[in-house]
């Protein structure tokens, strides 16, 4: 049985925790996830049209011009998605009168970094060794781990999304390497669109 003093301190901690969580909740990406995911889906379909294969390795067999076109399209889509996320998050934070630098935001970003760093290091090694087929799976899995970590400081939805990415990433590495372009579109594209729709539906429910 906690003492009265402990009970009151617990109340103060709970207030802080819930106020931070509520702020985070309002800043979960909706339209940013939908638009970003749609861009990735479009990039996936264009890549498939150019290569005729669901295997990302086929991109590296394209002529130099087409290869750079695909590389620029994917880099552009990813950068535009990240930029869009920040623009919308900043707008929402301003509307709510809160800072993006809240403790849960900082913790979420920091907790994503190790998994993304590990993915980048593995990517470098695979590029040097020419094992390009593993790249999509590594990034799907790594991003999933990053989301699960970030979700520890947020609500359950990002954690579930992260677990789905991890499951598909594992499948992409272990048994579906030849379909890794499709799995990239499914995860970074369709999963993000579905997540954005889920957040929107919660906000309007």
């Amino acid at each position: 049985m906690p003492s009265d003093r402990q009970q009151l301190e617990d109340r103060l901690d709970r207030i802080k925790e819930i106020m931070e969580l509520a702020t985070e909740y309002k800043l979960l990406p909706d339209w940013a996830a939908i638009v970003g995911g749609t861009m990735i889906l479009i990039a996936t379909l264009i890549t498939y049209r150019l290569t005729g294969s669901w295997d990302v390795a086929a991109v590296f067999r394209l002529g130099e011009n087409r290869f750079w076109l695909v590389a620029a399209m994917w880099s552009g889509s990813v950068l535009a998605s990240i930029l869009l996320y920040y623009v919308i998050a900043l707008r929402d934070a301003k509307k709510l009168g809160v800072s993006l630098e809240s403790r849960p935001s900082q913790l979420a970003r920091r907790s994503m970094a190790p998994a993304l760093f590990a993915s980048a290091v593995i990517t470098l090694r695979l590029l040097l060794d020419g094992h390009l087929g593993y790249l999509p799976g590594i990034w799907i899995l790594g991003y999933g781990v990053a989301l699960v970590n970030a979700g520890l400081f947020s609500t359950t939805a990002p954690r579930i999304l992260g677990l789905l990415f991890m499951a598909v990433g594992t499948a992409a590495i272990v048994c579906f390497q030849r379909y890794d372009l499709a799995l990239t579109g499914l995860t970074f594209g369709a999963f993000h669109v579905a997540f954005g729709c889920y957040v929107l539906s919660k906000k309007s429910a």
Partner: protein, 101 residues
Amino acid sequence: MSGFIPPSELDQVIHERVRLGIVSALAAAGELTFVELCDLLKLTPGNLSVHSRVLEKAGYLLIDKEFVDRKPRTTLKLSAKGKEAFRRYLERLEEFVKGRK
């Protein structure tokens, strides 16, 4: 214990753990839908409904019910009285925890 504030001196409507969660979340987010609050505070609709009625009865909560795309949507936000009560509650609680009272 010096500086002790018995819980009875705190606003008992807000002090209850679930209601404190509701008020804190609404103070931070401005307004939230019923579904969002259930999700955020891990409450059942029945539980949230009971506690939000207590807050509404005390004049701390404004509950707005409307239809959006033919579906009912309930939005909750703190009233001016609720915001003031939460501010006072926080002041009292901080006074106690810092031991200044």
